[in-house]
C-alpha cells in the first residue's frame, strides 16, 4: 500500500484503528469499551493467571482434537466426493447445507447428545471446520489434470498409488480448505465453550463479563484473534511454498 507516494506497511492500518480505539476508550463513553492500553495491561494479568493456563490447556486440547478429526474426515469425504460421482450426488447438497447453515443453533443439540463438557466442544469444532475442508478437497480432486490419472494408469499404477497421486495433485486446494477450517475451528471452539460456558475460555469469558472486567474480556478476545490469525498464516505460508503446483497446472 502506498500513501502519497510513501510505502506504508500493511500493519499500519491496524495501528490507526488501535489509536482510534485508544481515543474512544479514553473518552469513557462506554463502560464496555476500555482504552486499548488498559486491554494491553490486562493481557499480562490474563496470561499469567492460573485459570487462563487451565482454560488454554482445555481449549487447545479440544481445538486440536476437533480440527484433527475434521481434517481427516474432511479430506476423506472430499476425496470420496471427487472420485465417486454417485457419492457426490448423494452428499454434495448436504455438505453445502452444513457449510452455510448457522451451526451455532446446532450446538444445544450437540450438547444434549454429548453432555456439558469437552466432547461437545470437540464436536462443535469438527462441525465448524469439516465441511469447507471436504468441499475444497473435492474441488482439488476435480481440478487435478485428467492426463495425470491417465499417465498413472498407462504406467501401471495400482489403485493406492493413483489415490496418492490424486491427493498430492489436490494438495493446494486441500491446504486452502484446511486454512479456512483452522479459522472456522476457532469460531467453533469459542462458540462451543461459550454455550457450554463452564469450561475453557468460555468459562473465562463468563467470569470476566460477570465481574465487569472488560479490559480482561477484550484482552482474551484479542488473544484468540491473534491465535486464529497466526495459525491461518502458518497454513498460508505452507500454501505459498507449494505455489509451484499452480505454475505446473496453468503453464
Amino acid at each position: 500500500m502506498t500513501v502519497w507516494g510513501v510505502r506504508v506497511p500493511r500493519m499500519a492500518s491496524l495501528a490507526i484503528w488501535l489509536v482510534v480505539w485508544e481515543i474512544v476508550g479514553q473518552l469513557d463513553l462506554l463502560m464496555l469499551f476500555p482504552p486499548f492500553s488498559a486491554v494491553v495491561m490486562a493481557m499480562g494479568d490474563v496470561v499469567t493467571s492460573a485459570s487462563f493456563a487451565e482454560a488454554a490447556r482445555i481449549t487447545l486440547g479440544a481445538y486440536a482434537a476437533g480440527l484433527g478429526l475434521a481434517i481427516v474426515a474432511g479430506v476423506g469425504l472430499g476425496l470420496l466426493m471427487g472420485l465417486v460421482p454417485a457419492a457426490d450426488r448423494l452428499l454434495n447438497m448436504w455438505v453445502n447445507i452444513f457449510l452455510s447453515a448457522p451451526l451455532s443453533a446446532l450446538v444445544p443439540v450437540i450438547m444434549i447428545l454429548f453432555g456439558l463438557g469437552t466432547p461437545t466442544v470437540i464436536v462443535t469444532v469438527f462441525m465448524f471446520a469439516v465441511w469447507i475442508i471436504a468441499l475444497d478437497t473435492r474441488a482439488g480432486v476435480l481440478h487435478a489434470p485428467p492426463s495425470l490419472m491417465e499417465m498413472a494408469r498407462a504406467f501401471g499404477a495400482s489403485r493406492l498409488q493413483r489415490l496418492r497421486i490424486i491427493a498430492l495433485a489436490a494438495l493446494p486446494e486441500i491446504l486452502a480448505g484446511v486454512r479456512l477450517g483452522v479459522i472456522r475451528g476457532v469460531k467453533g471452539v469459542v462458540i462451543g465453550q461459550l454455550l457450554v460456558s463452564i469450561i475453557g475460555v468460555g468459562a473465562l469469558f463468563q467470569l470476566y463479563s460477570q465481574n465487569f472486567l472488560m479490559a480482561h474480556f477484550w484482552a482474551l478476545i484479542v488473544l484468540i484473534f491473534a491465535f486464529a490469525l497466526t495459525l491461518a498464516d502458518l497454513v498460508g505460508r505452507l500454501e505459498t511454498r507449494l505455489e509451484y503446483y499452480a505454475g505446473a497446472r496453468h503453464g
Binding site: 489434470p145 492426463s147 495425470l148 491417465e150 499417465m151 498413472a152 494408469r153 498407462a154 504406467f155 501401471g156 499404477a157 495400482s158 498409488q161 497421486i165 498430492l168 495433485a169 494438495l171 507449494l242 509451484y244 503446483y245 505454475g247 505446473a248 497446472r249 503453464g251
Partner: protein, 273 residues
C-alpha cells in the same frame, strides 16, 4: 520414390506389408468407438504398423486420432473390434507400451529425475537402479544438468523431453505419442523433431504418434495414416520414402517431402473451414 497412395476400402484387411518385410507389431482389426452420448468417433478401422518404424496418425480435428491412440494404449476400450500388440490382444495398459502426453502429465511436485524415473518407480524398481537409468535417458533427450529442476522451471519443450525420457526409460517396445509437440513453441518444436529422428535411430522402438500437422507427419513418419472425420475412418495410408539418416536439415527441401505435403493438403483442404 514409392508413393503408396493406396485407398483402403471399408472392412478390408490391413494394408499390404511395407517393402521392408518387418512383421506388424501393432494390428488394429475392425475397431469402432461410439461414446456414451451416441457420437461415433471411429468406425471400422483396420491398420497394421511394422516394428521399428515411426507411424503418424494424421487428420483434421474430430477424426478420432487421439481416440485410436488411446485405444491402442489400453486407456479406452473399443466398442467393437480388437487391437493386438506383439501378438497379444490389448485389454488395458501394459509394460510393452509407453505413452507420451500432449500436456506432458508430469508430477509438479517431483524433480526431472524423479519424473523420468516415475514409470520405473511404479514398476517397483529400486531407487538407485531407476535413478541411474532415468539419468541416462534424461541425458539422451538432451536435459543433462536439469535433473534436479522442477517441471515449472522448464519450458514446454523441455517438459515434453522429460515426458519422452519417462516413456523411454520403461523399455517399452512401442511409444505412443499424443500430439507431443503441439504445446511446444515453433523453434523448439523443430529442434525436438530433429532430435526425435536421431533418437529413433538410437533406440530400436516402434513409434506411433498423433498429429494435426501435415509437415510434422511427413517430416517424421515412415507411414502416415490419414483419417477422415465424422465418423473417423482411414482414408489413406502413405509410406513416404524420404532419406532421413544423413542430414535432417535436407528433409524439408527434399522434393518427395514437398510433393507428399502438397498431396495430403489437397486431400485435407475440404475439411478446413
Amino acid at each position: 520414390m514409392t508413393l503408396a497412395l493406396d485407398k483402403v476400402p471399408d472392412g478390408a484387411n490391413p494394408p499390404a506389408a511395407t517393402p521392408a518385410a518387418s512383421p506388424p507389431i501393432i494390428t488394429v482389426e475392425g475397431v469402432s468407438k461410439t461414446y456414451d452420448g451416441g457420437v461415433t468417433a471411429l468406425s471400422g478401422i483396420d491398420l497394421a504398423f511394422p516394428a521399428g518404424k515411426l507411424a503418424a496418425l494424421l487428420g483434421p480435428s474430430g477424426c478420432g486420432k487421439t481416440t485410436l491412440l488411446k485405444i491402442v494404449a489400453g486407456l479406452l476400450a473399443p466398442s467393437a473390434g480388437r487391437v493386438t500388440v506383439k501378438g497379444r490382444p490389448v485389454t488395458g495398459p501394459g509394460p510393452e507400451r509407453a505413452f507420451v502426453f500432449q500436456d506432458f502429465a508430469l508430477l509438479p511436485w517431483a524433480t526431472v529425475l524423479r519424473n523420468a524415473a516415475f514409470g520405473l518407480e511404479l514398476a517397483g524398481m529400486a531407487r538407485r537402479q531407476r535413478e541411474e537409468k532415468a539419468r541416462h535417458y534424461v541425458a539422451e533427450v538432451g536435459l543433462a544438468g536439469f535433473e534436479d529442476k522442477y517441471p515449472h522451471e522448464l519450458s514446454g519443450g523441455m517438459r515434453q523431453r522429460v515426458g519422452l525420457a519417462r516413456a523411454l526409460a520403461v523399455d517399452a517396445d512401442v511409444l505412443l505419442m499424443d500430439e507431443p509437440f503441439s504445446a511446444v513453441d515453433e523453434q523448439n518444436r523443430r529442434k525436438f523433431q530433429e532430435d526425435l529422428i536421431r533418437l529413433r535411430e538410437l533406440e530400436n522402438k516402434t513409434f506411433l504418434f498423433v498429429t494435426h500437422s501435415i509437415e510434422e507427419a511427413v517430416y517424421l513418419a515412415d507411414r502416415i495414416v490419414l483419417l477422415s472425420p465424422h465418423p473417423g475412418r482411414v482414408s489413406q495410408v502413405i509410406d513416404p520414402d524420404i532419406p532421413r539418416s544423413d542430414d535432417v536439415e535436407a528433409i524439408r527441401r527434399d522434393p518427395v517431402y514437398l510433393d507428399i505435403v502438397d498431396a495430403i493438403w489437397r486431400g485435407l483442404r475440404r475439411y478446413a473451414e
